[in-house]
Symmetry: C2
Subunit: 375 residues, 2 copies
Amino acid sequence: MAKVKIIDVARAAGVSLGTVSNALNHPEKVRPETRRLIEETIRELGYTPNQSARMLAGGHNNMIGLVLPQLNHGFCLQIISGAQNEAQKHGYSLIFAVSGRDEDLEEQLLRHFMGTQLAGMLFQPIPRPAWTPRPNPTVPIVYLDAEGPDEGAFVTADNEAQGRLIAEHAASCGARRVAVIGCAHEGVLSRRVTGIRESLSTHPDIELEVLDAGEWDVSGDGFGLGQQLSRRDGAERPDFIIALSDVLATGAIAGIRAAGLSVPEDIRVAGCDGNPLAWSGAVSLTTCAPAGYEMGRKGVQLLVEMIEAEQEPQASHVRLGNRVQSPRTEDHPARRIETVRPFLLERASTRGAAATTSSAHRSPQVPETNLGAYL
Amino acid sequence: MAKVKIIDVARAAGVSLGTVSNALNHPEKVRPETRRLIEETIRELGYTPNQSARMLAGGHNNMIGLVLPQLNHGFCLQIISGAQNEAQKHGYSLIFAVSGRDEDLEEQLLRHFMGTQLAGMLFQPIPRPAWTPRPNPTVPIVYLDAEGPDEGAFVTADNEAQGRLIAEHAASCGARRVAVIGCAHEGVLSRRVTGIRESLSTHPDIELEVLDAGEWDVSGDGFGLGQQLSRRDGAERPDFIIALSDVLATGAIAGIRAAGLSVPEDIRVAGCDGNPLAWSGAVSLTTCAPAGYEMGRKGVQLLVEMIEAEQEPQASHVRLGNRVQSPRTEDHPARRIETVRPFLLERASTRGAAATTSSAHRSPQVPETNLGAYL
DNA sequence: CTGAAAGCGCTAACAC
DNA sequence: GTGTTAGCGCTTTCAG
């Protein structure tokens, strides 16, 4: 019951406290024989080092913390898996927490992780209008799927590329009139629109119409817009709808069907953000997913760089004695951004005779039949 | 850059260190006015309490740790969500880690969590032949989906009930020849088989055949078995396949279709473990989910009881002075087990004319069209 | 209510 | 190589 501590191990093994500590943290400094004895004793006594004390005393830690807004949305699971694998490759382990879109919880988790002195943190903030990175992090932080004006390290989805990819898919499906629905003026979404415009500008034969309406997370808005577009006269009616979010797309499909048309026969529909939770509609949805796995992976890479950059200068402080100078400004560029490229998930909502030509676009490593394989 | 600590806050606010500490941990002991001043100062300075120091000094912690073997399988996600919600209800937050079926990592994570002094832990061990709970945990632990002979607290799935439920469903679908695929001799899976046998023994008119083959997590194995069974002669061919895992079931469906038969028309197929990640196949899968959500929820309930039981006696030690006695043996029954009942998810892979009668079995709280709702 | 002082268990110097 | 010692930042006594 009484917790066994390092001194107990030392006494039981007949060595001194410092030796046990060394055996744990600098095994090379201890005679193999002694080390084995100590290890044996540790096992017998069931000793578990107190991490708090360890960190407090200046020890190091191979833990990377990851805070996500949710687990059941977007590419969270892929992020985790990418981060986990990359972390392991560098000798770190991952622990994580979900803020559940609760800003207080998010704050609390962040403070806990930072206070708990892990090596670094990956943090995907809850989407909010005016988000900014933390001013003075006590550990290196990499922000995922977010972007700040100030200094910091960010890994973001390439939203323009998402738009381009979907637009090109529309073109290759033989679309003549493309309608874009969703708040086209809003931050991230507007980049998707830019990508769409850019891509379709090389197809002068395709008419593009941008309806700047519909909240990205309200499928009812998509329903209304889908219905509305379906009721237009033949020549005015789009044959391809790009929704700026998958939720909107799912709504639009329902709206089109409610109006008596069918998808993809009358109108093709595509989403734009690879949100698995919007995929359960009647028609499986073509969309364009940011590579969550890549995001996690790159996040950890960035983070590890930062962690190691932070350790270097400290070491030199000690060694150089009084000739201390801080090269921090060079190690720590004010702002680092990594972009992650998306890939196309072609499914029934845009499939048709004309679509077969584009099947080469489909990403081979993402079998649509098994979401599990791509987590 | 230099980390701001409690003494900095105290000086900036013009109070003493102890007062800041009190404002943080026992707000009621500090004059509201002073408290506000301190809070303000904390915000300005961006002070983050050092959790390590805090814990070391005997502080408490509202964190519950959860270690899972994987994230992309079984009911992990539901466990998390159940645990998260229940934890929040009791004022705890959840942090978790995935061992990735790597026993060393699992051990490391456990040690970290225990060493980090969180309030308690939920732990779903990597399935292994002869698993036993940790001998001397330094924090309360509840084991999930595992069971030990010795003392400890466990929440387990009722695997026999899962088997029974699926078998009964098969019977109510009018099955005549039922084939079971999967490693029927393996631990947990064998219980499912027991349940199936038990249930079908009351239906002497139904033939049961158990093919003890196919890894539970290899959909290719299911494919092969599905194909193989499809090629049998009419009388030998089963009309209902129960796969001991959903992944296997999904593979089997693909195999059956590859062999030119259709599901559910020619052969009905059901899974057995409610694995959402196996549900994206061409035909939606009937399965029997252990209530992962319940498991997470009950786990946290148990854990919270244990945490609080552990705090009580300590408090009385202090108050009773020398009349110390340890009622631990009564608070801490050697072994506690909670069982979680499964429910049937009836979907297209077993649906047919005859199946409508059983639709009452379908769990109303789990809409099949929106996986998100039940994560 | 406030301030001073005693550790919590450990690591990383430092002498031996 | 080994043993000794000074804190790490905080909470919690205990006197004012």
